[in-house]
């Protein structure tokens, strides 16, 4: 088990290394080859050669790519210095550099925006898992009835409708028609929990609807499969009450694939719930990434990409560990 964990963490590190090299390569080396100049992207259009030369030295663009990369990695772990000629700026670890556009440290920007993405993703996740699994189970138990058909049509809609559509329809219903909620921008939890909740309910519903639909469908299909298993028949042959058979025997097996899916979905979402954030105009990691790409803000792109990759690989690892906890047949060696 420990050996397994060590090996997996080693894999995580290796994956992140590859991701960073590739991303770094794409965003820093490609401009060089195509003739565009990172220094120019940093400085903007109105500049002169002297300023550009200064920037090159300060940002290290004059060095070979490999050296730039090493400096970048070093910055993450021990920090780095920017030699501005007259003054030297020290960037504390973890240093992902400074935004080309705002000059703000990338790490701080990410830390700043993380709560938005976290609140959005985790809150929605709780809702979609509960709602999705519950409807899936009910649907499976009521197979071929009106309940089942209704739920499945709803789920199909959830899967098919794009998020920006639900993102527009949901406010139309809950805010403007029913008047139950109002639309607001993200409010930090620490400042005002009520406002935080209020600002997030609609995005949660929107995001959860999409995922809950998928989860309901998967839960239903898995549940039906599990209900046909021999060990369910054995449980019934023992004289267990149907409720016990469902809860203790069927549900536990049904959850296995759900856990896998959940880990991957959550990892992906934390890496940037781009569409939802854009739809609700939240300043999270996703919108940060989109903005950075639009502006050619290389350090931000690098930072967000690495963070997203970290979320995804860690989610994968946690899923695998969880899997072994749920299913004793899975031995981690």
């Amino acid at each position: 088990m420990l050996v397994y964990l060590i090996r997996r963490l080693f894999n995580v590190a290796a994956t992140l290394l590859v991701v960073s090299v590739v991303t770094f390569g794409i965003f820093f080396a490609v401009p060089k080859i195509t003739g565009s100049d990172p220094a120019l992207m940093y400085a903007g259009r109105e500049t002169n050669e002297t300023a550009l030369a200064g920037i090159r030295v300060k940002m290290g663009f004059d060095k070979p790519i490999s050296e730039q990369y090493l400096t970048f990695v070093k910055g993450i772990f021990v920090g780095r210095d920017y030699d501005g000629g007259t003054e030297t700026t020290h960037c504390e670890a973890p240093c992902f550099g400074y935004s080309f556009k705002t000059e703000a440290p990338v790490w701080e920007t990410m830390v700043d925006r993380m709560p938005v993405t976290l609140s959005l993703a985790l809150g929605a996740a709780v809702i979609w898992v509960l709602a999705g699994v519950a409807t899936g189970v009910v649907s499976a138990l009521k197979r071929r009835t009106a309940v089942d058909r209704t739920v499945m049509v709803g789920a199909l809609a959830g899967v098919s409708l794009p998020i920006f559509f639900t993102g527009m329809v949901a406010p139309a219903i809950f805010v403007y028609s029913l008047g139950w909620l109002d639309v607001s921008n993200y409010k930090p939890l620490t400042e005002d929990p009520g406002a935080w909740l209020n600002s997030l309910i609609l995005p949660w519903i929107t995001l959860a609807f999409l995922f809950a639909a998928t989860y309901a469908r998967i839960t239903r299909a898995t549940m039906l499969e599990v209900l046909g298993e021999d060990y369910i028949r054995t449980a019934r042959a023992k004289g267990l009450k149907e409720g016990v058979v469902i809860r203790k025997h069927a549900l536990r097996s049904t959850l296995t694939p759900i856990v896998t899916m959940f880990g991957l979905d959550l990892g992906g979402l934390l890496g940037g719930a781009v569409l939802t954030e854009t739809t609700f105009n939240f300043q999270g990691l996703g919108t940060a990434a989109v903005a950075a790409i639009g502006q050619g803000d290389l350090p931000v792109i690098m930072g967000v990409t690495l963070l997203a990759a970290l979320f995804v690989v860690m989610a994968n690892l946690i899923v695998d560990l969880l899997y072994a906890v749920i299913d004793p047949r899975v031995r981690l060696t």
Binding site: T234, G239, P328, R329
Partner: protein, 373 residues
Amino acid sequence: MTENPTAGSGGSAATTAGPAFVPEQAGPRSGAFLSVRDLKVHFPTDDGLVKSVDGLSFELERGKTLGIVGESGSGKSVTSLAIMGLHRTGNARSRPHISGEVVLDGEDLVKADADHVRTLRGRKMAMVFQDPLSAMHPYYTVGKQIVEAYLTHHDTDKKAARKRAVEMLDRVGIPEPHRRVDAYPHEFSGGMRQRAMIAMALVNNPELLIADEPTTALDVTVQAQILDLIRDLQREFGSAVIMITHDLGVVAEMADDILVMYGGRCVERGTAEKVFYEPRHPYTWGLLGSMPRIDREQTERLIPVKGSPPSLINIPSGCAFNPRCPYADVPEGGITRTRRPELTEDGSGHWSACHMAQEERTRIWTEEIAPKL
């Protein structure tokens, strides 16, 4: 139901308020412990009505073993599930139509309340399935699954139940039961798993044990161990056993009576001796002729039954076996294709369902079939 002598003070009767069962008392309506009369199990499907069991009757006494033999789709497994009331569980839409009577110890289980039948399941009647790996929940330890079976029917604590589980594992020959009780099914070998399955079935001292192909998934040396175990336990507990199998060797070794099923119906029933030495139905002849022998050297070809088993949606009219029967034209007027033969008894407890006259069948068997086997 006999009081469990080893359950400790906590283990008493069932938890639910079903009618009380007086030990060793025969049912009021029939002398037999289990009596199945005209049992029909029909599954409605999109393609039509699947008549898995279509009018089956038999009796079984305590302490006796009935072997039900048939090929896949003959209805033998469906019969066992119907007796257990397992077709009444699960999704309402996929349940079959069940009619007829299953009288267990004087009580008709087909008409009985479903929840009452549930309280009998696992306590008065229990089942052992074919593949013990898939029949046990992979996520729970063997001990936990046995404890669950015990606690469902006994008002006692987990500690007593666990003690009982260890005891049962020991009884079925699992080494180091104290340790193995906490193992998962996948950590057991195939034979050990089937032993554990048997321990689970017998934990509540059932009076009827149904074993559905209990050794089919096992190696032959392990099969011998398991059959031996079932025989021993039956002797010890005095339960009635229904042994469902496709293996004529297994029934010959285990069964007092044999019931041969074809197309959801019984075609022949009698003592093992009668069915093997004076079989009365052409399908039984076919089974015997199809079987390679372990006990003698055959230089002749096997004599298979031609064709394939019938579709249960479209069972042939008349005698279900008529399209495959070499003697279908012996009775006059094509009666084999129009009328379903009645299951008739010859006065010695030997039943068969064939249109041919009994003398004719005896002649065919002794002169044409038996010499070639």
